[in-house]
């Protein structure tokens, strides 16, 4: 297995009880809740954690993009990636990912990723996402054209990375007389592209196509859903006429290790429950604006993910552990749970979120250490 240490960089200083009086910690939560002095301390802590992950032997460290929310502090993840490049030597740096449809000019994304790839001498892993529904509220981009813009922006970026410039690009949403990337990517033909997703059949079929074979990362899903989506990817690959490699299958999961199951559960509780009950919840109207998914996917998702849809019910750590949305326990327990998913799916990319919600630095760092020493070595191929 290969291991990525992933961070959301949540704003832990959030006054959570006061924040609960708003519709969500996204879009409408007033930014007077954000204290830049505390925010600066958060960046220091989180950058230190990610840099520490290289020392601990992780294959990659990863950041991601979210806008106008206490859930994450990286509206411009490439800025963080750039800082990480300067503070690390050989670890891969993953940006999982940039939200393509919500930018006006995707060439900017192609350029910035090319810069990071050259700056890091080929250590960059890129990710392409559509952004979550809330980000169509916060950017104003029309979700009805989200899929079209994603595919067009993707095609443009890949062509900008691989085709000799200058060339002309004539799309429905993006049009350029001159596309001619300077610098162009360090890796050939281009940096790896990973596709994090909450799971939709359209995305899986597209990512697994032979001309792409993009690794697909299932995020925030129960164990049953992880198995279902990764199996769907393998089936899609088979329909495309090849067998998917384990390196095309990824699982992104909040994970906590302590010396005993009881202690792990006690220490992870506040972080995990705040992630799911304070930072993540948003109403359907924000999570899935019409057009963001097809109507058929929307109906399936609304049935399956009642959990994200409402503030009406708090989720407990016991439920999240029981359904496998979070992996928490002693080293032996954690190893066994990961093995179980690996046996069912062949998943080879594990994207661990080792700090989550309000979890303090000391617990996050001990979690990282225990995972790296007591779990990782046993799961290396």
């Amino acid at each position: 297995m290969k291991f990525t240490c992933f961070h959301l960089m949540p704003y832990r200083a959030l006054e959570r009880e006061a924040a609960k009086t708003y519709r969500s910690a996204w879009v409408v939560l007033p930014n007077s809740f954000y204290d830049p002095i505390k925010g600066a301390e958060e960046y220091d802590s989180y950058l230190d954690q990610l840099v520490y992950a290289e020392e601990l032997g992780f294959d990659a460290i990863a950041v991601n993009e979210h806008h106008q929310t206490a859930y994450g502090s990286m509206p411009a993840p490439n800025l963080i990636a750039s800082a990480l490049i300067q503070r690390t030597k050989s670890v891969k740096i993953a940006v999982l990912g940039r939200a393509l449809p919500i930018v006006g000019n995707p060439i900017n994304i192609a350029e910035e990723f090319a810069m990071l790839d050259v700056l890091s001498k080929g250590r960059l892993i890129t990710g392409f996402v559509r952004g979550i529904g809330a980000e169509y509220h916060s950017t104003g981009v029309n979700p009805a054209f989200s899929h079209e813009r994603f595919h067009e922006a993707h095609d443009l970026i890949i062509k900008a990375w691989t085709a000799p410039g200058p060339f002309e690009f004539e799309g429905d949403h993006y049009r350029f007389r001159y596309v001619n990337l300077w610098p162009r990517p360090y890796q050939s033909p281009h940096p790896p592209v990973w596709i994090p997703s909450m799971g939709s059949r359209e995305t899986i079929v597209w990512a697994s196509a032979p001309e792409r074979k993009y690794p697909f990362l299932v995020t925030f899903s129960s164990e049953a859903a992880v198995v279902r989506y990764l199996t769907m990817y393998k089936e899609a690959a088979r329909e495309h006429g090849y067998a998917a490699d384990g390196d095309q299958l990824g699982w992104a999961v909040p994970l906590y290790v302590a010396d005993t199951d009881t202690r792990a559960r006690a220490e992870a509780k506040a972080g995990l429950e705040s992630l799911f009950n304070d930072f993540l919840p948003m109403p359907w109207e924000m999570l899935l604006p019409p057009g963001y998914t097809s109507i058929s996917s929307l109906k399936v998702t609304m049935k399956m993910r009642t959990s994200l849809g409402s503030r009406a019910r708090n989720q407990t750590i016991d439920e999240l552990i029981a359904n496998g949305t979070a992996v928490v326990g002693s080293p032996a327990t954690v190893r066994e749970k990961i093995e179980r998913v690996r046996e069912q799916t062949g998943v080879n990319l594990l994207i661990t979120m080792l700090q989550f919600g309000v979890m303090p630095d000391n617990l996050a760092r001990r979690n990282m250490e225990l995972f790296a020493t007591e779990v990782m070595p046993h799961l290396r191929n």
């Binding site: 169509y136 509220h137 029309n142 979700p143 009805a144 604006p289 019409p290 109507i295 109906k299």
Partner: protein
């Protein structure tokens, strides 16, 4: 339900009555059933209520991308299905579509009636954010008289087919109204092109498109009649059906003389 086919695009439609023709263009909530308001207008007019392309069970052609396309589509409808001028009545999104068509060409228009029309923006006075509201908030904000809202909240769509129609309506509303939110920045400067009698009707307590917008329409359109309905929300033709039907019927009678 009736069908209306125009240059290969097939939509659902309601029809009733005989007399000089009225074309009613519905709002972003989708095609309503046969309202008492329609019943009243059809006493003296041949009323046609088509469901817009992209809404409900009508065709969803890829080439219809925005409200400009809908406006051109309705100019095609007027050409294809009428030989004499038509009274065009539009509510909210439908009022915006009717206006976009009218600034392009009023040859087929006998008059223009706009009920709480979208299409223009008064800076500093944004419309309500209907896309972020829960179904209950949306129902409450559509009406001033909350008994209408209560009825809507108590009767959500039940059958799978009704849910599909509602999801398709919501998708179409987003497609046409998300950005810029419920308006076309270029429309306001062309409102003087509307060369037929125009009647703007607004509920005084509209929480979606503020009633204050009526003043900008009054300034930009040449010589419109403006009627403000007291104690009324965003759907005057539903909430104050008989009063608004009388207002519309009287106006059409007057301009037809």
């Amino acid at each position: 339900m009736d069908r209306l086919v125009t240059r290969g695009t097939c939509v659902r439609a309601l029809r009733g009555g005989v007399g000089s023709p009225i074309l009613f263009l519905h709002g972003a909530g989708g095609m309503p059933g046969w309202l008492p308001f329609f019943e009243r207008l059809s006493q003296h007019h041949a009323l046609l209520v088509p469901e817009h392309p992209c809404f409900g069970a009508s065709d969803d052609p890829h080439w219809i991308r925005d409200v400009s396309d809908l406006a051109m589509y309705y100019l095609d409808v007027l050409d294809a299905h009428y030989t004499s001028p038509v009274h065009v009545v539009g509510h909210s999104l439908g009022g915006w579509i009717a206006t976009e068509a009218a600034v392009r060409n009023t040859q087929r228009f006998a008059s223009l009636t706009l009920l709480a029309p979208a299409g223009i923006r008064v800076k500093g006075l944004p419309p309500g954010d209907n896309f972020i509201w829960s179904p209950e908030e949306a129902a409450r904000n559509r009406f001033h008289d909350q008994s209408f809202a209560e009825a809507a909240i108590k009767a959500p769509p039940q059958s799978d087919e009704d849910i599909d129609l509602e999801l398709q309506n919501k998708l179409a509303a987003v497609k046409f109204g998300w950005e810029p939110r419920w308006f076309n920045p270029d429309l306001e400067k062309w409102l003087h092109r509307i060369s037929v009698p125009t009647h703007v009707i607004w509920g005084k307590e509209d929480k979606i498109l503020p009633c204050a917008y009526a003043r900008l329409w009054e300034e930009r359109v040449t010589g419109p009649r403006v009627t403000i309905i007291d104690a009324c929300g965003h759907l005057p033709q539903v909430e104050r059906a008989s009063e608004v039907a009388e207002q519309v019927a009287t106006f059409l009678q007057r301009v037809s003389r």
